[in-house]
Symmetry: C2
Subunit: 599 residues, 2 copies
């Protein structure tokens, strides 16, 4: 399947247009402001500062540049354009004659260039390359691209041709997928070869790793084609898997693709939160073991959610299966959206599925603090990878809506928009994510395929006003388009219980509530304390409101007991009205208890 | 109430006689062997070693001496006697002329004597004093007592009279309760005054604390009489509270007693595990907030369980309320007993209420390890406070069976034994903890009071063979004894569900099973994996077996699902037979999943 690039997709009004406009108007400039204030933009000017910048500030700036590239297409800002130009100039001015650029190493530790596998050097290069490709492909100049091609050439020379660098593969994957992007934009084979080289070499020998880390931590425990269990640092893992799917697809490398598919199956079958989050352990920000999905102390980093979405996209490109888009949808509407506050300024790094504000309060009073996820979003972190990652991801969301293959135009995500592809012009109007109504005005001759959402409870379709029963295959509904055709589908949305696999010990005896693509949650500001004690016997009669955001109100029971800590008396069940909101919308009203899994 | 000293109590056959004999025959010599091998006994000889000993090795040896003192009364061993004599000689030979003894400070850091509040110096002194009192009161010589009185005098001189020590109160309470014991044995007021002084001074000013610790950590955040919430390191807290109850009782200090009662109420009403364990957080081994009782990562140290039992005992001495004995019973039969392996050689430091062996396996593969409780007992720890604490506690268990007050002989714990006190001679025979049958042959004139166990589901009493309905008051049944009297009580024991307070979020929607004083648990070696998925609809028809240890078999359901990680299909309920054993008996058959709280 080929995906349709976001610059060929015109977004219509609705939920996502609002998110993306907020991204342009608020998030992008605000992340800039925070990064400027915290010295990230100063850092890439390569002037020596008293306090050396963080070793991966370059990647923060690069992701912001990439985000700016996308957002300028949506909503041009001269101010943003000036910052972009100025930053690109600064990077290019500081780039070394041989092509190298890293604002930390060249200023503070030139003698250690290409000698420290763990320190994100090629990771930063990868993000700069992605930014360069983004700017070029969005028509915002090729200056950075030219510079980054020179850098990529230099990496190629040192790591592949001369092999005189101090390590073989980078401790944090990213360069691999960036090189594929560079190859796909420039069509220069050498970048693909280099990406493949980095993949091939990974796990072939013992390489430098943090003293505290095992080899699984950065996925260098096995050659990549032999990896079939998702392990280690979740973002590192997923960035690697993305490149595996990319190179596997482009090279027709069955072993690589098959490993990527096995890793995907392991993640979505055993290691993914209901929200699409991954990374069960804060220590090492990593995958742990099958079915270990603690809600309160999950890691589920925003970046790893984005990475899982990208991995879905790359797998779908190799082999268009509805499940990839289904998981993309899950992670998009839940963990990814949760990464940002309602006002577009605050960000979550970790995204727990349960919060007890009393624990936050307790930990605040300690000097030596155990890990406790934050329960209010903040504007910038010391390790602030997630905010610009989210801003760039929202910026290119249009990339993930449509796909084409053999004369079929696939609608994979339901986002109001119009597109021209595969001989068809289609205008999709939808009330999603609040109602499952889809209306496609198509013109041309070809086939239109609508993905059947996993959450639908019934489907009704019309073509040109008349009810039809379309062909259904592998999770899609197929419609022939010949001339002006109006295709309507109603995927019925209802609040539904969802249950975790019997092996997920954290959720035994519990259920969550979903509405369409949204996982719902309860917050204590709506429902009082003791959310874990809430039982939802049935969703019959649940009231769904969508004005000013989704709210689902349902009759529930609260288990109540006497004052004793332990008692032989079973709890009583008190009738209560439970107010649920989408998981992503939590934590916008102060510190709150929050709960996803109910009795 | 006065408790009847264990040397006036002759244990009969049964459950506890077996535990205590194992304690004498196996645990005591085995802990000695481990401590000898790990240099603890070498340390107290005060010869400089290449690797300095641990700063509180003295307390390990002291607790072992105390244990030996008790066990020699039960089962004399010439070999143990020789070790005791030799160790006492070594300590006395090394004691400094002014009375000071600390094997770490005097050998390795004499310039820092009495200057480091955090480093357990007076804590070690306290345990040595306890050992000295134990040896003397068990008729095993007053040599150590004489030495420790000199040490206590020296502490008094430096801390109280001259006040020229480098700190005022010790960072780890223990000296306070030890001084009370010394006072009660010697009747020398100065020791009581010194204990009171240390209590009075605590929390009156900012004192030295670990750089990473807050003042709540060692309960120096408030004057003790103002403390009403259990906070900080659980063992430190409970040792302090014991001394508060002691001094409050002896001095008639209402404010002190009232604080001790408030702290007890806070613990047993909000911060105690069903097993009697305390300490919800491994970080700081500490109390956290009300109702935060995580099962899998509880701390619930064996020492804090013992300390809670002792705190119950001291409160009961001040004011005999059945609740203190009830909690004593809970902690005794559950967390305390769990501290030791079936073979008497292995010990648990922490006692979780839920185990997932896959997590132990996962953590084993990591270099940087998150906290993961061990799930098999070991013979010795680097910080091996619990093993000798348990051995000494079992050694003096006879102290906690009987109490006397105003002509009444109280039977507080049901352990087959005989006693002479308060004008009565009583022989108690019981099938507890397996059946609630109690038979007391009493002689003399007076009143016998039997504590009504909280777990009984019915009571039937006989006097001299005839059914009676005895006077019942405040948790006791009262029987007049005049001449030879046979009092029989049948406290019916049945498996019962027990529920946690609605605020205990970890256990919402779950229930545990108790049988008599035992909390029961399931292990995966009996029940397969996925113990969290087990539902017990009813205890009707539960089969109780007591031969070779308690086993309760009950019809249950296992929630099963398809293979998908998430599904709209609710789990099915498969009939299974659930095999429960007492919580304390878990982890004797290899690494196992274990569960206390069921659906």
């Amino acid at each position: 399947m080929e995906t349709v690039s976001f610059d060929k997709v015109a977004l219509g009004e609705g939920f996502w247009a609002d998110v993306i406009d907020k991204n342009a108007e608020i998030s992008l400039p605000n992340v800039y402001r925070c990064f400027e204030e915290t010295g990230r933009f100063r850092a890439v000017r390569c002037e020596k500062q008293e306090t050396p910048p963080h070793i991966f500030y370059d990647s923060d700036v690069a992701k912001w540049l990439e985000a700016a590239a996308y957002m300028q297409k949506r909503r041009y800002s001269a101010e943003i354009a000036a910052i972009v130009a100025d930053t690109v100039d600064a990077i290019c001015a500081s780039q070394r004659p041989e092509g190298y650029f890293n604002s930390f190493y060249q200023v503070y530790a030139p003698e250690r260039i290409f000698k420290e596998r763990t320190e994100h050097e090629l990771y930063c290069a990868g993000h700069l390359i992605e930014a360069a490709v983004a700017l070029a492909s969005c028509g915002q100049g090729e200056k950075l691209l030219a510079a980054m091609k020179r850098y990529a050439d230099y990496i190629c020379e040192r790591f592949y041709e001369k092999r005189d660098a101090g390590f073989t593969t980078c401790g944090h994957p990213e360069i691999e997928l960036a090189l594929v992007r560079l190859y796909e934009y420039t069509k220069q084979e050498k970048y693909l070869s280099l990406a493949k080289f980095f993949l091939d070499e990974r796990g072939q020998r013992e390489e430098e790793i943090y003293p505290w880390a095992d080899r699984k931590y950065d996925q260098s425990h096995l050659p990549v084609r032999e990896q079939n269990e998702a392990v280690g640092h979740a973002v590192r893992a997923l960035y690697l898997y993305i490149a595996m799917a990319d190179v596997g697809r482009i090279e027709g490398d069955g072993a690589l693709l098959s490993a990527a598919r096995a890793l995907f199956a392991d993640i979505v079958g055993k290691k993914m939160y209901l929200t699409g989050g991954t990374g069960s352990s804060y220590l090492g920000e990593r995958f742990t073991v099958a079915y270990h999905l603690p809600n309160e102390y999950s890691y589920t980093e925003t970046c790893s959610a984005i990475a899982l979405a990208l991995f879905c996209d790359r797998l779908a490109k190799a082999e268009n299966r509805a499940v990839y888009h289904e998981i993309f949808e899950r992670v998009l509407y839940n963990n990814i959206l949760a990464g940002e506050s309602e006002n577009g300024k605050g960000f979550f790094y970790t995204n727990p599925l349960e919060s007890h504000a009393c624990m936050t309060e307790y930990v605040r009073g300690l000097k030596e603090k155990p890990y406790q996820p934050i329960i209010e979003r903040v504007e910038v972190f010391e390790c602030s990878c997630c905010p610009p990652n989210l801003v760039r991801f929202f910026g290119e969301l249009g990339n993930y809506i449509y796909g084409t293959e053999k004369g079929v135009l696939y609608v994979n995500q339901y986002i109001s928009s119009s597109v021209c592809a595969e001989g068809l012009r289609a205008e999709v109007q939808t009330e999603m994510p609040y109602r499952g109504t889809v209306r496609v005005r198509a013109e041309g001759k070809g086939t239109l395929a609508l993905r059947i959402p996993a959450w639908q409870v019934s489907i009704a379709c019309k073509v040109n006003g008349g009810f039809v029963k379309p062909r259904e295959k592998d999770g899609y509904l197929y419609f022939d388009v010949d001339g002006e055709t109006l295709v309507e589908a109603e995927f019925e949305m209802k609040p539904r219980f969802v249950y975790a696999n019997e092996n997920v010990w954290e959720n035994s005896g519990r259920k969550a509530v979903e509405y369409g693509p949204f996982v719902l949650c309860a917050e204590s500001c709506d429902n009082g304390k003791n959310l874990r004690n809430l039982e939802i016997p049935s969703l019959e009669g649940a009231l769904v409101e969508t004005v000013g955001g989704l709210k689902v109100t349902v009759a529930a029971k609260r288990l109540t007991t006497g004052a004793a800590l332990y008692s032989y008396e079973p709890p009583e069940r008190e009738n209560v009205t439970l107010r649920l909101i989408p998981y992503y919308a939590w934590a916008n009203r102060g510190e709150n208890d929050m709960q996803v899994w109910f009795l």
